[in-house]
């Protein structure tokens, strides 16, 4: 049910944007007001989320991640999983952010005849997630060509590498194909794997469909119903230079793309997509596993009134003795 409702919602948004792109008055709303709102909500919301996380206490210094902490010399220390220094933590975090190592460990449980339970490797989730995120990053950097004038060299260079293969004109960009393929794979995985489907909610599908809608409208705009790039750049540059314009002649498909992107930006800080910021704050990733070499004291520890047995015995010494009970200390 949530599959269809989220799909329909995205389609409705796209249709509204398309219709609005044809009409005159709503173009200003979709081309100026919505993007500005989206940027503000995105930046503000993300900052709010991150700052709130920063305020939350991290109660424990989590020593167990996934591997042997540095211990006795004859126990093999998995140094990458359990770094003791800041540099090591940085490396572990970098590998997590850049290569998704946690996802790499993803496994799949399977019941076989017997019944026997088997854990098998499942690398496709990791692979498609990696493909999607890296493609998205490259696509975002490539989009700087609309927002910066003159276009920086590294943007042009990246596009040249991305468009290495000479297929058609405008030249095919590999990331465009990869991102669509990866998103479709992730979607079908969610739908076809019963366990994953069971735990999937409206929000899971909505984010996927929104991203698919953005990628799809972008691809349509580039390869099939070409738009006037000069006009598109005028809109984008107008936004970042605070002199917004919506010139006539920008196709409605552009407004579909822009509107879906704006919606994603607005939705972003309040959804699971905010893991972009959260990943840096995962305690099992950003704390050094040095609890064996360093004493960690809770900074908010208040003095607890402790009444030891020795003190108690002292207090009631005479009474205990009078009762004829044994005493530890005479």
């Amino acid at each position: 049910m949530s599959v269809f409702s989220s799909l329909i919602l995205v389609l409705v948004f796209a249709a509204l944007a398309y219709a609005g792109g044809l009409a005159g008055s709503s173009r200003w709303f979709m081309g100026v007001i919505l993007p500005y709102t989206a940027i503000l909500v995105f930046l503000g919301g993300l900052s709010y989320r991150v700052l709130r996380w920063a305020k939350s206490p991290v109660p424990f210094h989590i020593p167990t991640t996934c591997g042997q902490q540095k211990s006795l010399p004859w126990l093999k220390w998995s140094w990458l999983e359990n770094p003791q220094s800041k540099g090591g933590v940085l490396l572990r975090m970098a590998l997590e952010v850049l290569l998704f190592r946690s996802l790499f460990r993803n496994s799949r449980a399977q019941f076989l005849d017997g019944p026997r339970l088997r854990y098998g490797e499942e690398k496709f989730l990791w692979l498609s997630a990696l493909a999607f995120h890296w493609s998205l990053l490259i696509i975002l950097i490539r989009h700087l060509r609309f927002f910066v004038s003159p276009v920086p060299r590294f943007v042009m260079g990246l596009e040249a590498v991305d468009g290495f293969f000479q297929v058609s004109a405008p030249q095919l960009l590999v990331t465009d194909v990869v991102i669509l393929a990866a998103l479709l794979f992730l979607l079908q995985r969610r739908l076809r794997n019963p366990q994953v489907r069971y735990i999937s909610l409206f929000t899971d599908y909505f984010a996927l469909f929104l991203l698919l809608g953005i990628a799809f409208s972008g691809v349509l705009m580039r390869y099939f119903f070409r738009v006037d790039l000069e006009r598109v750049k005028e809109v984008a540059l107008g936004l970042v230079t605070f002199s917004p314009t919506v010139p006539a002649g920008v196709g409605p498909l552009f407004f579909v793309h822009l509107t879906l992107v704006s919606l994603l930006l607005i939705y972003f800080p309040f959804s699971k997509l905010v893991h972009m910021g959260g990943i840096f704050l995962s305690p099992t990733r950003n704390l050094a596993n040095d609890s064996r070499v360093k004493r960690h004291v809770n900074p908010w520890d208040y003095p607890v009134k402790v009444h030891t047995y020795a003190e108690w015995e002292e207090e009631f010494h005479d009474k205990i003795k009078a009762a004829g009970l044994p005493l530890e200390r005479e």
């Binding site: 167990t64 591997g67 460990r105 076989l112 490797e121 499942e122 290495f164 609890s291």
Partner: protein, 419 residues
């Protein structure tokens, strides 16, 4: 599904080897970028010798890939159980060598950015289209077989039924890749030294000698480095195959030699003059051709002596001879030989350049790294399955990796924050 993490743990020696290979690949990638920007003019190829080392290596590796059939066929069709442990190694070797083939073709292209044109505008009358189709099909088939059978082995399952017909399909398909590759050459009207129906049989014979010879060497190396033994019987069985194939290969060469020399037709004798006899003008390939022939004959004589074959040390030496002689024959001489005398009778020298050799070495390094990683994965699965003790050890290691064993092995680990 693909158990990559098995390749991410290893000894110092393993990482040194992998690191070394990666360094070679990095270096050759720089050389490739140089070639990409300056054009294929940085190679030793020319207007007359328009294919060189790359396509030679491609042809040779197609043979190595096809040779997997020499372990698959006895195992699956004739139920040779002693090949059980070697089959997956052979298939992995095939996957790696087909990948190398594709890389060799790719680096040989003048406009690699248009590589998709082969799919976008398929030409059914071009042998190259069929060759590409058969090679990529072979890659897919072998990748599927190895993945599925390894996965089944790891989960202690019988492989799914549908894989059996695919395995059977891989047998004729292996023959097809080398046959179509031979057609690539044998179907050209103007190149007399290639235009012979014996091209495909000779390709197959030499492939079934060189490929299994390499597999024997790899198995011996594996036993020495890891202690994993495919079994003496398997190696002996394979050595018989190498012997027969080498004998047939030499026989084919002699047949070609007779036809050319006795008929004395200039176009036919050309090849043998270039390679073995030499005339005043044809000299650049002469030492290569002669060494190759000499090594082939010596290897064959060695292999024919049962004592030599039964002793694994001497067998290894013979296998080195087989592999290197056929590498020279196909990887260096065969392609260049067809070009050395141009259609207009000009004789052109061909010497590969440094960038060309670096790129070639890089593709070999890619193949080596693939074989290393694949064999490591295959071995860890096999060892876990066959030795319960090792499996238990691996279980401990895996659960440690999942974070369970820590508490057991290190009491007081959680003490820090409470103290």
């Amino acid at each position: 599904m693909f158990m990559v993490e098995k390749a991410l743990v290893g000894s110092r020696r393993y990482w040194l080897w992998v690191g070394g290979l990666l360094a070679v690949i990095g270096l050759s990638f720089i050389a490739y970028l140089y070639q990409l920007s300056h054009g294929l003019g940085v190679t030793g190829m020319s207007r007359n010798v328009s294919w060189g080392l790359y396509i030679g290596q491609f042809t040779f590796m197609v043979g190595v890939a096809a040779s997997a059939v020499m372990v698959v066929l006895p195992y699956y069709l004739h139920n040779h159980k002693e090949f059980a442990r070697m089959t997956v190694l052979g298939e992995f070797l095939a996957v790696s060598s087909v990948t190398m083939c594709m890389l060799f073709v790719f680096v040989d292209m003048g406009r690699p950015m248009r590589v998709f044109n082969v799919f976008l505008y398929p030409q059914f009358h071009s042998v190259m289209f069929w060759d590409m189709l058969s090679l990529s099909g072979y890659l897919l088939i072998n990748a599927a077989i190895t993945l599925v059978s390894l996965h089944a082995e790891q989960s202690d399952l019988h492989p799914p039924r549908w894989i059996k017909p695919i395995i059977l399909l891989s047998i004729p398909w292996a023959i097809s890749i080398h046959t179509v590759t031979a057609f690539l050459y044998a179907g050209l009207p103007g190149r007399m030294s290639w235009r012979t129906p014996i091209m495909a049989p000779r390709f197959l014979a030499s492939a079934f000698a060189a490929g299994p010879a390499l597999l024997i060497l790899l198995c011996l190396l594996l036993r020495k480095l890891t202690g994993y033994d495919v079994g003496k019987k398997a190696i002996q069985g394979l050595s018989v195959i190498v012997t027969y194939a080498m004998a047939i290969n030499v026989f084919f060469i002699l047949m070609q030699l007779f036809t050319a020399m006795y008929s004395n037709v200039p176009g036919l004798t050309e090849e043998f003059q270039d390679l073995y006899l030499g005339t005043e003008a044809h000299t650049s390939l002469l030492p290569w051709g002669r060494i190759s022939l000499l090594l082939m004959v010596v290897a064959l004589i060695l292999l024919l002596i049962p004592k030599v074959r039964h002793n694994e040390r001497t067998l290894a030496a013979a296998c080195v001879l087989v592999f290197s002689s056929l590498w020279i024959d196909k990887g260096v001489c065969m392609v260049v030989c067809g070009f050395i005398t141009s259609p207009l009778g000009t004789i052109t020298r061909y010497v590969p350049t440094l960038p060309e050799m670096t790129i070639t070495l890089g593709v070999w390094a890619v193949g080596a790294i693939m074989v290393t990683v694949f064999y490591k994965i295959a071995l860890s699965v096999e060892i876990a399955r066959e030795a319960p003790a090792a499996a238990a050890y691996e279980f401990a290691e895996r659960s440690a990796a999942a974070g369970h064993a820590e508490i057991l092995s290190s009491p007081g680990a959680t003490g820090g924050s409470h103290a």
